[in-house]
Amino acid sequence: MRIESLKQFDTAVAAAREARSAKGREVWVCCGTGCLANGSKAVADAFGAQIESAGLATTLGLYHKSTGCHGFCERGPLVVIQPEGLLYTKVGVGDVPEILTKTVGKGEVIPRLLYKDPATKLAVAKYDDIPFYKHQIRVSMRNIGRVDPADLDDALAHGAYAGLARALSAMTPEQVIAEIEVSGLRGRGGAGFATARKWKACRKAHGDRKFVLCNGDEGDPGAFKDRSIMEGDPHSVIEGMTLGGYAIGAHEGYLYVRDEYPLAVVNLQKALADARDRGLLGANILGSGFDFDLRISRGGGAFVCGESSALMRSIEGRTGEPRAKYVHASDKGLFDLPTNLNNVETWADVGAIIANGGAWFAGWGTKKSKGTKAFSLVGKVKNTGLIELPMGTTLRHIIYDIGGGILKDRPFKAVQTGGPSGGCLPADKLDLPVDYEILADNGSMMGSGGMIVMDDRTCMVDVAKYFLKFLSEESCGKCVPCREGLKQMLHIFEDLCTGRGKPGDIERIERLGRGMQLGSLCELGKSAANPVMSTLRYFRAEYESHIDHKACPAGMCRDLTAYEIVSEPCTGCHQCVKVCPTEAIAGKARQKHVIDPARCISCGSCFDVCPEDCIRFIPKSLSVPEAASAPARVSFGNPSPAPARSGGTGGGACPR
């Protein structure tokens, strides 16, 4: 039934809320991509089938729905039982009958399915008590995990389109922009440009035909916040873009979704169709006279198409290559017409800001970085997943209080923020608040919110090399500094990691990095040197070690590292033998074990599992075949486990 007025909208929302509250008991199964990969579809189907066959809707008033990503991806499949607010983790199809009879039927909690806090070792039953969720303030992700993305009424009951209804009935486009300005919203895709300023420029641009675009290309390795938003709450993005269109005077837009997100495309398509059917999209939205519609444009598998001008070329059907942006897209963008591009998260924030007011959003954050931000917390951290927090939260709080600290309680070494354009921050920066300018001043950047936590078993030279390799494959190749520069930079790094580093390499890296920063056409090339520059800034000693001593302080560069077992503490427990991929460790049970250097590939698996701490690594150049029987000598850079929250830099000391 089409909604054709504000009154009808309010009625529809009230009806949706009533229908919601009638479903007092509900089982929510996460069907975001992460949990789907772990088999949550089968779990959802099992719930559906068993609830139906047992008639539980009638007898217990029990319903079920599939929701988007809860963010705690490593613990999936996730199931939430309402109204209790219980969270069950790693749920399998076999657990479904038990959940229905025990938890739903008798109110009994099933301990083995509960989340266990790694710090306290205690199980936590309620969703809202789990530190991972407790500390979050979710704005862009407000409905993800709560609504069924395929159910518009569910979304309406949770506040979807309230902002749009307010704007179309009671605000002028200029007032909408003003509200965004008060909120202090800045682009959540990485650049952090003031959203209101961009909208104003586009509104002012000449021409009747304008576009709003959504950048759903999300190419940073380890970033998946945009995916979760598009999959889990597509209406938030549609509402935001419609508001954006209203504000700048555009009547059409594109959602550019990377090809690798098929579920996002499916869920967006359904949401678009549902919104059109209801009169929330298309002609005469909510009876306001404002026409606006959206189309989906799929990417072709290129990271560079996340760059705004390359994205526009891609939509136009041309090869995704950036162009010089001396003429702004707000004047000449898609098809040379005024265009406003924003990130998925930015659009998702807009609806909430208009519904609740700009001051509400600006109530969080720092002086220059207002509101909340989504982060993908990944890497060597105990609780990995998707979180949303106020700007200004410290890295320490994110990594330790929400992330639960470093895996296996190893020492923290660095956190990489901002993806391939960002940098690595060491332990003494853990108290930095997350803020656009503060991160940039310290050699990193906010980026789209990717946060990769690294422990002492990470070689920072290798980290830089990883990002260089990624970018060299994704560079469009149009300009010399990026295309040739990345290739040559990678050559130098491959030499560094294989013992062919030469004196002067650091200077060559710095010169080339500067040339790329100054000369490249787009931000991909300009920021390609950031991971290199930031690791050089904070971990220069590691580079020097690779060059001067052909040694990797973290013990990760295989060509430079040899592993050996120190005889004395070895109890012959055999754990190392079980994990060695090349059968390089010899030794009978309960007798001293020995690593054969000829077979050892320096993967470090034995080091990671040894419970007695008797495996050490040394520079390969120093290793001699008789090492096994020699007395344990001082090996350099051999970190040992330290208690959580160590704050120390762990290993990485250069031997002398």
Binding site: S472, C476, G477, V480, P481, E484, Q488, G515, G519, L521
Partner: protein, 260 residues
């Protein structure tokens, strides 16, 4: 007329032009590789970077490529600042690594003080500097027969599927505009071959001379709305016809004329 300062000189630029044109107007040479008046600017080689500032920017300046930066009233441009020269050197150093045996690159690099590359030399030297002039001129001509393929370090200029390009008419514009001679072709009175595609030359029915391919004539005849025959008679024969007409109009007797 926007007035700007370039290297200390006051320049009155033409409205709507790019900074490179203003530099040239002022007699200031800025090196370029991917720029050519016949095609739209590209901004790929990055050699024409210059530093642009304004008095109110308190010393902050931005690096832009002159070929694409529109002239603005009041800007102050430095075409040889330290970081501009440094960037040009890095670009040429990188190009020299890619094309170590290409005279154009060697000369340009040497002019900037680079005799040998400090980077890893291309094990398979090429003459292609990926300036994109060939693809752009083919687009301008209207055929778009070749384009860049692949991306990043694997980027190359090639026809679709690396097969003889269906859209190519053998006009040789790509080979002519290529600054390093990378694009090879063979051309004679009867036949032409480029991009592994063979063409018949359009031969004058009277004398057998040719200048363009038959495919070229077909393409431009179609575009211009004229019959293909419009292009068939060669210039020599057309001059003879003109002479004959002039003679006739002047009342002179028509005498068999030597082909002039």
């Amino acid at each position: 007329m926007p007035t700007l300062t370039i290297d200390g000189r006051t320049v009155h630029a033409d409205h709507g032009t790019f900074l490179l044109a203003a530099c040239r107007k002022a007699g200031i040479e800025v090196p370029t590789l991917c720029e050519h008046p016949a095609v739209e600017p590209y901004g790929g080689c990055r050699l024409c970077v210059v530093d642009v500032t304004r008095p109110e920017w308190d010393g902050w300046s931005k690096m832009v490529v002159a070929c694409l930066f529109p002239v603005e009233d009041g800007i102050v441009v430095d075409t040889r600042s330290e970081r501009v020269m440094e960037t040009r050197k890095v670009v040429l150093d990188l190009l020299l690594a890619r094309c170590p045996e290409t005279p154009l690159i060697r000369d340009l690099a040497a002019a900037h003080g680079i005799v040998a590359t400090s980077f890893v030399r291309n094990p398979v030297p090429t003459d292609c500097i990926l300036c994109g002039l060939c693809t752009r001129v083919c687009d301008t001509m209207g055929m778009s027969a070749i384009s860049s393929v692949d991306r990043g370090a694997g980027r190359e200029i090639a026809p679709p599927f690396r097969a003889p390009p269906p859209a190519c008419v053998g006009c040789l514009a790509c080979a002519e505009i290529c600054p390093t001679g990378f694009i090879q072709f063979e051309s004679g009175t009867r036949k032409r071959r480029i991009w592994e595609k063979d063409f018949d030359m359009l031969r004058c029915p009277r004398c057998g001379r040719s200048h363009i391919t038959a495919a070229q004539a077909d393409f431009f005849a179609g575009r211009g709305g004229v019959p293909r025959s419009y292009f068939e008679i060669c210039d020599h024969c057309k001059r003879a016809d003109l002479a004959a007409t002039a003679t006739r109009l002047a009342g002179e007797p028509a005498t068999p004329a030597r082909q002039g």
